[in-house]
């Protein structure tokens, strides 16, 4: 018996170490430890031994079984590792190849800038309103204190649809619609497409504006400047300053042109700001009480301010775009730059 045990152990030692793959190892496991295996056969011979010897040899066979089992397990681990390494080696990929393309869309810079402006001003309570592009003369001009044959009509070259209908020359008619339909306090933003008979490298006949209107009990020029200054810093950068220059708009009094220190050169002077250090970004002012009269808001009780920017202009300054016509050519190489 002892001899058989020793033989089986040395045989196992030898054979198991020589096995090259997990399949052959499994066959060996069956050969030694299977139901018909050598160790099982030895176990069956136990019955032939005298009763008192059986426990001793039983233990010894069990120890043999355990030893062979361990040998197999160890070899199995080793082989697995080897095979994994082989698999890894064979699965090597050239990851410098490109991945399948995920098609990337884009958002037009005018939408992007509009959204950004709305986001900044929404934070301080402004909500968007919209209005039609074909407007009655009354909304585009008269209610904004620009009567027929008033010299201020010369400020805007107007496209006419009929004697009484125009393509809105600014987003200001949305102010009128809102003040007619809603009760103060009002705090709105009106983005939209506007039209002027003018076309060259810096003028588009159909461009975009956004304007803000506040109507409340007490509204001052300082509130106006503070709001614009907040916006300019958020939009162009913390270091950008805001400056007011007196101007004239029939629907505001006092009126101011808005300049900001040039975001391109930070005020040092460059081509964008024509070496002045400042760029003009829009118009503003306190709502003219005459406009409140037109929309039947009591100008003794309510005050307001309004300001507006050209969206193309903001985009041109922000992204350094130098030709307004690019916005409507829709060249893919242009569009894909804005996401």
């Amino acid at each position: 018996m002892k001899q058989k045990i020793d033989e089986l152990l040395s045989q196992a030692n030898e054979k198991i170490k020589m096995v090259a793959d997990t399949k052959a190892l499994y066959d060996l496991k069956v050969f030694f430890l299977g139901k018909q295996g050598e160790v099982t056969a030895l176990m069956k011979e136990l019955g032939k031994l005298p009763k008192e010897e059986r426990p001793e040899w039983g233990q010894k066979i069990n120890a043999l079984k355990k030893q062979i089992s361990e040998l197999i397990d160890n070899q199995h681990k080793e082989l697995e590792l080897k095979e994994l390494n082989q698999q890894i080696e064979s699965e090597k990929l050239d990851l410098t190849l490109p991945g399948p393309q995920i098609e990337q869309g884009s958002r037009h810079p005018l939408s992007k800038v509009t959204e950004e402006i709305v986001e900044i001003l929404s934070r301080i309570g402004f909500s968007v309103r919209s209005g039609p592009m074909i407007e009655k003369d009354w909304y585009n001009f008269e209610a904004l204190n620009i009567p027929k044959d008033h010299p201020a009509r010369d400020m805007q070259d107007t496209f006419y649809i009929t004697e009484d209908h125009v393509l809105r020359t600014h987003t200001s008619p949305i102010q009128i619609h809102t003040m007619e339909n809603e009760k103060p306090p009002i705090r709105i933003l009106a983005p939209g497409s506007v039209f002027r008979c003018d076309s060259d490298i810096s003028h588009s006949p159909n461009f975009y504006q956004i304007e803000a209107l506040v109507v409340d009990q007490k509204v001052s020029m300082a509130d106006l400047k503070g709001t614009i200054s907040y916006f300019v810093k958020e939009f162009f950068g913390e270091e950008i300053k805001t400056r007011f220059r007196p101007s004239f708009f029939p629907f505001t009094e006092p009126s101011a042109e808005v300049d900001c220190s040039c975001p391109i050169c930070k005020g040092k002077g460059c081509r964008t700001c024509k070496d002045t250090g400042w760029v003009e970004i829009g118009g503003s002012g306190l709502v003219n009480p005459k406009v409140f009269d037109y929309v039947k808001i009591d100008s003794k009780q309510w005050q307001g301010y309004a300001f507006g920017f050209g969206i193309e202009r903001m985009a041109m300054i922000k992204y350094g775009i130098d030709d307004i016509r690019l916005f409507n050519e829709n060249h893919i190489d242009f569009l894909k730059q804005f996401q």
């Binding site: 939408s111 010299p151 496209f159 306090p185 006949p205 001052s220 300082a222 190489d333």
Partner: protein, 806 residues
């Protein structure tokens, strides 16, 4: 508007600014009078002086050149080579010395001409921009003093500002007016121009009849006899030329000078040509002819305000004089007009005939009714001085309803509240006086009653005084605060929210947003859309009539768009021609209706070509399916999950009749997806597949936003079963799917086409499709029998449509 600083200096002392015009420009700009450019004449004539030729000899190496020794100051003599022929020894000439810069950025340098050193150039009038043409160099008269800067000797040391004056500041459209503004800003005093003259015994011999005082509130006129019409003196010519006004003759020049000086346009009639000695201010007669002084013949409409004599119109009020009555070389006696016409009447006439004059410009912006008298006197003064006339002893002044200057009540606290900083009553009073207001009343609390000056027609309410104070005090003192939020913010506009949502979804779908003009070409639009009713079969609701512009920029932009197609196709062609053979673009925006000028929100997508790369080699995949999946992805993302595709009998003429499908949302057709018609693709020489989709977004907008509703999820695993069917040539998959979905409710969770086969193993036109279905129960598991039943139902319903199980 051009302003000469030398001229301006006659009414207000700006000598400190003549050397530093940028400072004045800055001051004016910061006060609301934007200076657009500064033209410094002496800068232009730097290093150009008067010299004398003290010796002239032949150039040793060139027949056509002379060598001159030119004295430019004291003992300094420069050798200069000159190619002209008209000079001789002793001539006074204009010398551009080294460092001079002539128009065209031509810099004078020390140089050698054919071996001889030359230290400058002798200039011609043309080269000095004094005349259009000249022969030879400019020879000055003997009195010119050697060494003097040419600019100074010739009064070319002026600085010209170009101002952009806003419509409210008509009072600044003259030198005197601007001087008054500068005086206000710099706290200086203003000097009035001289306006005295000697009157004769003769009376004004023209009788003024003012028939329309609404359009002409005031008309003044005065006769001047025995004037000598001739050229203007040099100083007058120079004043006019400095601001780009041509000199004509002394009388016309004086009327122009007074207008540029005081802002009051004037007109001089030849009295002899004024028939019946009568000037009548009344409307034109319909179809009447009128020839302007530049010879243009107009047919009047009966609405223009005219100046007429006893028989005919002699001037269009405030706009332009008539050829029949103007001052000429032979004129002896004149009648001077100094009137006030309303902006509306002048603007109407000048717009109707497209006549733009300096006079019309000033009247249509609003002149000062009180300036008529000073202007008339000033003109008489100058005529007497220059043309030697005898001024009539009396004048005509028709002013039936003298205008009342507005009176404004204002409290200093109101000004302070509006500006957002403290304002003291004294400062405020001082400021208002400077802008020309008269204090009618005031009290200790800071309440004022002001009378505004006539020349500031734009000031008529308290807020105007707020602006005036803020402006002259300086906008830089305005602080930065934020308005207090006194109520909760209101809701966002739905269309805005939907647009932003669609934009980000489309970006996820790989589409780039295009923005085209809202107007387009009527011809092209008509050609592309064809019969609009074919589009409207698909629920697009396009307008069949154009909204036309009365005054389009050009014929390519003459109507509002009824579809995004013209714009997107133009974008496609631009991109394709620049070599971009694959693109996915879309436009989201309004399209227009003639009826009530309604605007509908539409979304259109245009796709061309397929990307081909390592992982995607199916370049043949029809692009239209890509567009379809983008539409589906978008609708799902927006929460509109119950949509259907519906095949229609007809297709719009621009789309492929066999590749076109309708989109149905909540039982209603709202859009179309299809390939472009091969004819259009061929005509435009494009070698790619092109597909288009258009969705009328109005219905989506009206039920936007859709809130997602949570549906309980099942813990049971999905069970998958596959089926394959053979479709007959005229059959479509949509019908089969619709049937299967109907009968397998609610077990069927998804159904997917995973294979499509057409070819040898099937009859011509047949196709085989393989479907993968996923089932799931809420609880419990399916028995084999249950699954068997489901499959049988599916097969039966498919077979009902004509498909055969494969």
């Amino acid at each position: 508007m051009k302003i000469s600083l030398n001229w301006l200096n006659e009414y207000v002392d700006i000598s400190e600014f003549i050397k530093a015009p940028e400072q004045l420009a800055e001051k004016l700009t910061q006060a609301g009078l934007e200076v657009e450019s500064i033209e410094n004449q002496s800068e232009q004539y730097k290093n150009i002086v008067i010299g004398e030729i003290i010796e002239k000899s032949q150039h040793p190496d060139a027949d056509k050149l002379t060598l001159c020794q030119v004295k430019v100051e004291g003992s300094k003599v420069l050798p200069i080579v000159c190619g002209a022929k008209n000079h001789k020894q002793g001539d006074k000439v204009v010398v551009a010395m080294v460092g001079a810069c002539l128009p065209g950025d031509f810099k004078i340098k020390k140089s050698k001409i054919r071996g001889v050193e030359s230290q400058g150039m002798l200039r011609s009038e043309k080269e000095l921009v004094l005349s259009e043409e000249s022969s030879g160099i400019m020879i000055l008269d003997g009195k010119a003093s050697v060494g003097t800067a040419f600019a100074k000797a010739y009064g070319l040391d002026d600085v010209i500002l170009d101002l952009s004056v806003t419509p409210n500041r008509a009072d600044c459209l003259s030198h005197f007016g601007l001087a008054r503004e500068i005086a206000c800003l710099t706290k200086k005093s203003i000097k009035m121009p001289e306006a005295n003259f000697q009157s004769s015994k003769q009376k004004t011999d023209v009788n003024v009849v003012l028939k329309n005082a609404n359009d002409c509130p005031r008309y003044m006129g005065r006769s001047v006899f025995n004037v000598k019409v001739g050229p203007s003196p040099a100083w007058l010519k120079q004043r006019l030329e400095s601001v780009d006004v041509n000199s004509i003759n002394n009388i016309v020049d004086i009327t122009n000078f007074v207008m540029l000086e005081l802002g009051q346009p004037m007109h001089a009639f030849d009295s002899k040509l004024v028939e019946d000695n009568k000037i009548e201010i009344s409307s034109s007669k319909k179809s009447e002819k009128f020839q302007t002084l530049d010879g243009t013949e107009l047919e009047l409409t009966g609405e223009e305000l005219m100046i007429r004599d006893g028989k005919k119109p002699v001037a269009m009020a405030g706009v332009i004089g008539g050829k029949n009555s103007g001052v000429t070389e032979t004129t002896k006696n004149i009648f001077l007009e100094s009137a006030h016409f309303t902006p509306q009447t002048v603007r109407k006439s000048s717009r109707r005939f497209g006549i733009e004059t300096d006079s019309g410009y000033r009247f249509s912006r609003g002149t000062d009714v009180e300036m008529t008298e000073l202007a008339l006197n000033r003109a008489c003064h100058l005529i007497q001085q220059i043309a030697g006339g005898e001024v009539a002893v009396d004048f005509q002044d028709e002013y039936p309803n003298p205008e009342k200057k507005p009176v404004i009540d204002v409290h200093v606290n109101f000004v302070a509240q509006k500006l957002g900083y403290n304002v003291s009553p004294n400062d405020f009073e001082d400021g208002m006086k400077r802008v020309g207001c008269e204090v009618l009343d005031k009290d200790e609390s800071g309440h004022f009653k002001f009378q505004t000056p006539q020349y500031r027609w734009d000031m008529d309410q308290d807020v105007d005084l707020v602006e005036e104070y803020g402006r002259i005090h300086g906008y830089e003192y305005i602080k930065e605060t934020l308005p207090i939020l006194t109520d909760r913010p209101s809701a966002q506009d739905t269309r805005y929210l939907l647009e932003r949502d669609v934009e980000s979804r489309m970006m996820e779908c790989g589409y780039m947003q295009a923005v085209n003009y809202n107007f387009t070409s009527s011809v092209e639009q008509k050609a592309l859309l064809g019969d609009v009713s074919a589009w409207n079969e698909y629920g697009l609701k396009l307008s069949d009539e154009d909204v036309k512009l009365l005054n389009p920029l050009n014929e390519d932009l003459d109507v509002m768009r009824r579809s995004h197609l013209p714009g997107l196709l133009k974008n496609l062609i631009t991109n394709y021609r620049s070599g971009i053979s694959y693109g996915r673009i879309y436009e989201l925006g309004s399209i227009f209706h003639k009826k009530d000028y309604q605007e509908d929100l539409h979304l259109s997508m245009l796709s061309w070509g397929q990307a081909e790369n390592l992982w995607q080699k199916n370049k043949k995949r029809p692009v239209v399916y890509d567009v379809k999946s983008a539409v589906e992805k978008l609708l799902n993302a927006l929460g509109f999950t119950s949509f259907e595709w519906q095949l229609m009998k007809t297709a719009p003429s621009l789309l492929h009749p066999g590749q076109c499908v309708g989109l149905k949302l909540q039982g209603q057709l709202v859009g179309v997806v299809g390939s472009l018609h091969p004819r259009w693709i061929q005509e435009n020489k494009i070698r790619e597949d092109i597909a288009f989709a258009q969705i009328n977004m109005e219905m989506i907008k009206n039920s936007y936003p859709k809130r997602a509703n949570y549906k309980k999820i099942s813990k049971q695993p999905y069970v998958e079963r596959d089926l394959a069917f053979i479709l007959q040539p005229d059959q479509n998959l949509g019908d089969i799917l619709k049937e299967i979905k109907k009968v397998l409710k609610p077990d069927l969770k998804s159904i997917e086409v995973f294979d499509l086969y057409q070819g040898e193993k099937l009859a011509q036109g047949e196709s085989s499709i393989a479907l993968k279905m996923r089932f799931q129960t809420v609880d419990g598991t399916y028995t084999d029998q249950q699954l068997q039943e489901l499959m049988q139902k599916a097969i039966k319903s498919a077979e009902k449509t004509g498909a055969k199980l494969r």
